[in-house]
Amino acid sequence: MEALVVGKPNCGKSLFVVNFAAYLGLKEVRLEMMDQDGVVRHQKLPLEKARRQLVSHVAHKTQTMQSISVDILTGRHHHVICLTDTVGLTDEIHFENHIRRAMAMALDQLTHTSMVLHLIDASAIGLARPESLSLMDEAMARYASTIAPYAILANKMDRDLAKAGLDRVRERFRGQAIIPISAMTRRGFRDVKTFILRHWP
């Protein structure tokens, strides 16, 4: 089963993927990267190094599709979940060729994934920042909720403005599953795990 992590640039997708994998008990990240020519590469990284290498403050750090496979143990059952990190989707048409191509790949993956985790930066809502809420998020909510189990993860709840932001998100996306999390402090990860297991196909 694959969970596709989507969202605006800089809303914390990569950090979420790495930290959530660590939360699920992963010691070493085995990355499967599909670059824009469709070539798949494998890479092994210790967690700390993965965090340093994959996560950055600059938007559009992730430009390939990166998957991490993790075992979830519930009782005696093994569930293997594939967390797939994608490039940040923007409202405007991006000027760089390869980023546009990466976006197309992310959207392509979206059409046949088995679960969508949509990250929203709850602390930047209403601000004029690339990661704040926009048309893309609404279009995503409308589309993704019809094709697969879909949850909105309101990220960066450790920040000051996030609480008000979460209320705005709840208002705007009424009827969707909304889970407040912090990819940094790992708050709410248990709820995400519950959500994933509950919607196991």
């Binding site: 546009r100 976006m103 197309a104 392509d108 995503m140 589309y143």
Partner: protein, 333 residues
């Protein structure tokens, strides 16, 4: 994966296939939010192609609701309950129809209180209601989570709310059935049961329409329970009475129970049994158990029949194996 070739090759105002949408994104003609909108539109178009399939699905939904009602009708007695369930069903269907005409929906709370002595069918009806609501699309899952005081009330301060919330989480999408709910308020001022009630009342607002709460218990105790918390009575608009069964109904229940195991009462046994039930009617102990009592009596009779037949097993016919005589019954009464 290759997204480099334009499938249509022509310039049109809207992409025709998902692949074309992706191609447009890649070549900077549309942004990702527009792409998502196009994708969902294309999705809907393919969805309308499968509309006939959806229609079939709809009728099967109606069939399932009918099936549940049929099962309900098979229960003996309970005429008030059956009437109310039909009311609720009609209400829900009319609401869905109203939605088709863009009329405002009445968001009625369907939380319920079941009052009745033990063994009058409260749990059975709750389970059927879960299936019915699932069939009608009111509850996504329609499962029944049966809880009692021990599942809700914790051992130390703060534990109760946590425990209760966990149970609520489990019952989202279905029905939470609190048996002997009055016991939550029994312990007095300092009891943790109050905290459980408060958490439940709060959850009813927080998860409006996501789960259904049914409180069940004996009539006297429930009336007292509802008076302990001012918010309770108004939050449970539907009160269902499960009256005690009369002798005739009890006999019918017994017959149905036996029929499931291919047993039959002889004529003599039936008459004796009915007379026994009629004599005692109104004088049962309040917690005698109604249908459950009948089950116990009949199970005892089946055991006595086995003893009677075990002596001459070789000469036993199929007919003998199915008959319960008055002698079998009498010993258990």
């Amino acid at each position: 994966m290759s997204l480099r070739t334009n499938p249509s090759g022509t310039v049109s105002s809207n992409p025709k296939t998902p692949r074309e949408v992706l191609y447009w994104v890649e070549h900077g003609r549309i942004s990702s939010d527009a792409a998502l909108r196009h994708l969902s539109q294309l999705d809907r178009r393919s969805a309308s192609a499968a509309a006939t399939e959806g229609k079939a699905n709809h009728t099967s939904q109606k069939d399932r609701a009918d099936e549940v009602l049929r099962q309900l009708d098979q229960l003996v007695g309970l005429s008030g309950v059956k009437l109310l369930v039909r009311e609720i069903r009609a209400f829900i269907e009319v609401q869905q129809r109203r939605l088709d005409f863009h009329l405002p929906q009445d968001t009625q709370m369907l939380h319920m209180v079941f009052q009745g002595a033990p063994g009058t069918g409260k749990t059975t009806v709750a389970r059927l209601l879960g299936q019915l609501f699932e069939a009608l699309g009111v509850l996504p899952k329609g499962h029944l989570v049966e809880v009692e005081r021990a599942d809700l009330v914790g051992e130390y301060i703060g534990h109760t709310a946590q425990k209760t919330r966990e149970v609520i989480k489990r019952s989202l999408g279905g029905i939470m059935f609190v048996d002997e709910a009055y016991s939550l308020a029994r312990g007095g001022e300092k009891d943790f049961g109050k905290e459980a009630i408060d958490t439940l009342v709060k959850a009813m607002e927080d998860y409006r329409g996501e789960f259904l709460l049914i409180l069940a218990g004996y009539p006297h105790e429930m009336a007292w329970f509802m008076s302990t918390n001012p918010g309770l009575l108004s939050r449970f608009p539907i009160h269902l009475e499960f009256p005690d069964y009369n002798a005739q109904e009890l006999l019918e229940i017994g017959r149905a129970m036996l029929a499931a195991g291919q047993y039959v009462l002889t004529k003599e046994a039936e008459q004796g049994f009915l007379k026994h039930l009629e004599d005692r009617q109104g004088n049962w102990h309040t917690n005698a158990g109604n249908a459950r009592m009948i089950r116990n009596i009949l199970e005892h009779a089946v055991r006595r029949q086995a003893v009677r037949l075990a002596g001459h097993l070789d000469a036993v016919t199929r007919h003998d194996l199915t008959q319960l005589t008055w002698a079998d019954l009498e010993g258990g009464l």
